[in-house]
Symmetry: C2
Subunit: 403 residues, 2 copies
């Protein structure tokens, strides 16, 4: 196995950072490239608490349909993830393929198939080579290791250029516990949920209700605030597994904060690796009348191909920002167009709806990071959304590669 | 004056096709390129009926604010249009610039400034060189001619590669009357209104109420059904002028149909000239429960950068189409994801939500036109929306050129 363009030593342990987890990343042979394509994450307990959130797309992959059911009782023993095929729009046979995958993983690990979450990523509309996938599960089980997090993170990559892992140690009054995670996703970063696949693990002692609440809060403030290209995947799945192996029961607020922090690290990595991007763009809307109003304005700007192409050209084009802001209906986000201020990388280039500091005082070429601050002067709420520029490389990747 | 990349003889007469109109296209000197930048269309009557529809953006140019007021009484004597500057977000001085433009045109023609519609296109946020513009109005008046339609159509071009004109003759029981038009717009083709600037003229005898109703119906079914890049302009203006010079009073339905036909011709030309496009894409949604449901589905697909990049790569990627369709909420467009059919250029490559005919049987490279047919199996309504592919040239034009 090769860690493409990365040294495994550089990656944080990710899902195997907390106690009670083993993982592996192996090559079943699903990808023509021969790269790793199968990841397995196993919760050795003592708890086997699980929660998950999924894409809000109405067209969903069979793995999503299966996994929604699998997590519904709050118990998850393992997550199996494959790249090389999404198993979406593959008919009844495709659902049988998920079922057989979960059964084979369950048998290999000695757990119930109904406690196995299945995630798949790759081309829509083509059956997986299921025999190849099933034959890979034994070797994946044999490769399981308490240091397997980086290998697992690598095996779920598709057009990602780097594997994505994160971890956090919490030293509390009651003891030390940990959260780790991995994610993949660089193309269909979504409005509803912005990653293709993510697994977060913790050795804290939590019940299913807290796991679910913490995960929903974390995704709302992290993955849901990434809108790279406005396209929503059919397969987005974020799973949280809790082993309880630390023996520490954190307070709910602290637990939610830690899960959110790890999710935020992963979301940030997704933005940084978005297909073909040369700029990471943080759009902060201040002075919004509500969170939803601010988010609607930020999302309108993040969806403007004209604005995103301008950023690629290092043009601080506030006119295109205002043109996008103006498309948000008044009932969604009240504001006075003549009161709008726009600040880019600290320079207020638009004030009260008109030109202010000269464009030339903003040098977008100096840094990958671009911070757009839009003040609506209509309230007290602040919202930040992450997106990227629209580049030649994005067009190339998505016109030459099928997903 | 040069007709760039086109021979004037190739253009239909456009706004001067109906009787009672003169037009000119001249060079005031607003553009660094030295190309024509000022167009004037004058209604010599006997009627001076006018109507207009504007962008639904909340951030609008000063010319839009002015012109909304100018047309409110149903009387329009002339339209003055400039490229080389949009006069948007230019503060109170920018509004004075519009006012002075209308006054100068009014004085030059001997009409009321309040009956002059003003349209501007170009960069947002920078004042027009107003003295240069005003100095050009006298020469523009002197150049007015009953064969000036093509010159006017050329003077309103920005990133358009061809001037756009259309005409139609109606031989009815009561006599012969005509409709003509011109349009420009290739970048910010909009969801709410898809052209930057358009003028349609007719020598039919109609009153202001019919002109307004016919224009609204025509734009709803033509310009509003174009969504090239999802970005809405701050300046979109479509004006209809009626001279009554034919002496023929058409029936309202026939009049609406003729205006719609000319608008459709112009809308089709906008799509064909969209920035950097290599494919014109017609998205037809059938089996929709309502017009609005079908339009929401078509618009979701037309906004998918992934789908549009795939078309650029000649990849009939129905998976990306279904992923877009699935983002439309059930309350907006009811359908069963497992019932969706997708036909591209006559080949049903997705049936009942899964693969059907092989992708290889669709050859997108063979033609510029792509027809996507999505059957929702949820009703009887049919809607068509026009869009384009997402190309390297689009990114180049919009990252290297400020608008």
């Amino acid at each position: 196995m090769t860690l493409t363009s990365q040294d495994a030593a550089e990656l944080s342990p990710g899902v195997t950072f907390p106690a009670g987890f083993r993982a592996s990343g192996t090559t079943a042979g699903l990808k023509a490239s021969g790269r790793p394509d199968l990841a397995l994450v196993v919760n050795d307990g003592p708890l086997q608490v699980g929660a998950a959130v999924f894409t809000s797309n109405r067209v969903v992959g069979h793995p999503v349909t299966w996994s929604r059911q699998a997590v519904s009782d709050g118990v998850v023993s393992a997550v199996v993830l494959n790249s090389g095929g999404a198993n979406v729009c593959t008919g009844p046979d495709g659902f049988l393929d998920v079922h057989r995958t979960a059964e084979t993983v369950g048998a290999a690990l000695g757990v119930s198939p109904g406690d196995v979450v299945v995630c798949s990523t790759g081309l829509i509309g083509e059956r997986l080579p299921i025999d190849t996938l099933l034959a890979g599960i034994g070797p994946a089980r044999d490769a399981l290791s308490s240091t397997g997090g980086p290998a697992a993170a690598t095996a779920i990559m598709t057009t990602d250029t780097v594997a994505k892992t994160a971890d956090m140690t919490i030293d509390g009054d009651l003891g030390t516990w940990r959260v780790g995670g991995m994610a993949k996703g660089a193309g269909m970063l979504a409005p509803g949920l912005a990653t293709m696949l993510c697994v977060i693990t913790t050795d804290a002692v939590v019940d299913a209700a807290l796991a679910d609440a913490a995960l929903r809060a974390a995704t709302r403030d992290t993955f849901d605030r990434v809108d790279s290209d406005g396209c929503m995947s059919t397969s987005d799945t974020v799973t949280l597994l809790a082993s309880g192996a630390s023996g520490v029961t954190p307070d709910p607020a602290g637990f939610t904060a830690a899960v959110t922090a790890v999710a935020a690290q992963l979301a940030r990595q997704l933005v940084a690796d978005a297909e073909g991007a040369t700029h990471d763009i943080a759009i902060t809307v201040t002075g919004a009348s509500s969170q939803s109003a601010g988010l609607a304005v930020a999302r309108a700007v993040s969806r403007s191909n004209l604005f995103k192409a301008a950023v690629y050209g290092n043009d601080p084009n506030w006119g295109r920002i205002l043109a996008s802001v103006g498309t948000v209906p008044a009932e969604v986000a009240p504001f006075d167009p003549d009161q709008l201020d726009v600040t880019i990388n600290g320079v207020m280039i638009c004030r009260a709806g008109g030109a202010h500091e000269p464009r030339s005082s903003v040098d977008l070429a100096a840094s990958r990071d671009v911070h757009v601050l839009i003040d609506l002067h209509a309230g007290e709420e602040v919202v930040t959304l992450w997106t990227n520029d629209l580049t030649h490389a994005y067009v190339s990747e998505n016109s030459e590669y099928s997903t």
